[in-house]
Amino acid sequence: MYAALWRALPGPVWFRILLVIALVAGILFSLVTWVFPWVDSLVNNQEVTVQV
């Protein structure tokens, strides 16, 4: 899968490497900004208060 994606990228090798770095940075940014907070709101229910 990743090999096929690599072959699908245009341009010479140095340009593809830059492209991959930019894509990974973009994916990490969206994960931290949107995806992880959303997942966190679904899974994190750790209670710290005492209650009846």
Partner: protein, 232 residues
């Protein structure tokens, strides 16, 4: 086709570890830093610090002033615990709603428990892990450690006394005399609650402190918090 499936599974595994790193480390740094700067912004509304030369006898300030009960979710105090870090300060808001207060503002004051400096129990809760983890190092407190609460009226210094562990239903720790039903309070205590053990909420860890001294805002901050105010 098995190659694709393997790559997808590896990707899923990497994503899970990335999420854990974000939840247990990176997001704590981001949210913790935001809580700290919010606390420093909050205290700016209370006016500049007065630099009082020389040491003043705390007894000369008389009985501590008790602030009015704040509105729901209102940030009304700052909490300084040097044991958690020399520059440690977190805002305290009224209410202990997970989403409204604990996940965002930081420390929540149990409604119905007493205010700082009041005879009885000033009880607060905060996360021990995730969402800035204000009480991450609660189990490291040592006897006599200062726990300083700042409000618009002044500074209230408590001294850590003991830890306790209770089930999640252990609401008696919030009593005016902690763990005593219908007790008539004569002491001023502070109660911190968080989850126990780390990364679980099967129990609650409770830290008790007893009142030590009070300073009005006009007397300047106590020596215990000067490191936290250094960059403010």
């Amino acid at each position: 086709m098995t190659g694709v499936l393997g790559e997808l599974l590896i990707t899923a595994g990497v994503l899970v570890f990335l999420f854990l790193g974000w939840q247990l480390w990176f997001n704590d740094l981001v949210v913790g830093g935001r809580q700290q700067s919010e606390a420093l912004e909050l205290r700016e509304q209370w006016g500049p610090d007065v630099d009082v030369p020389g040491e003043v006898d705390p007894a000369s300030f008389g009985e501590p002033v008790v602030s009015a009960v704040p509105a729901d979710r209102e940030q009304f105090a700052n909490l300084y615990i040097p044991r958690f870090g020399a520059d440690y300060v977190r805002p305290v808001a009224e209410g202990v709603g997970t989403r409204a207060v604990l996940n965002t503002i930081g420390v929540g004051h149990y409604p119905g428990t007493q205010m700082p400096g009041e005879v009885g129990n000033f009880a607060v809760a905060a996360h021990r892990t995730t969402h800035g983890a204000p009480f991450n190092r609660i189990a490291e407190l040592r006897i006599g450690d200062p726990i300083v609460v700042e409000t618009a009226d002044g500074w209230y210094t408590y001294r850590f006394r003991t830890l306790d562990y209770v089930p999640p239903s252990g609401v008696e720790v919030l009593n005016a005399v902690p763990a005593v039903a219908d007790g008539q309070p004569t002491d001023r205590v502070i109660t911190l609650t968080s989850c126990n053990p780390l990364f679980s909420d099967a129990e609650r860890i409770i830290a008790y402190g007893v009142y030590d001294s009070w300073r009005p805002r006009s007397a300047g901050p106590p020596a215990e918090v000067t490191a936290a105010l250094g960059n403010g």
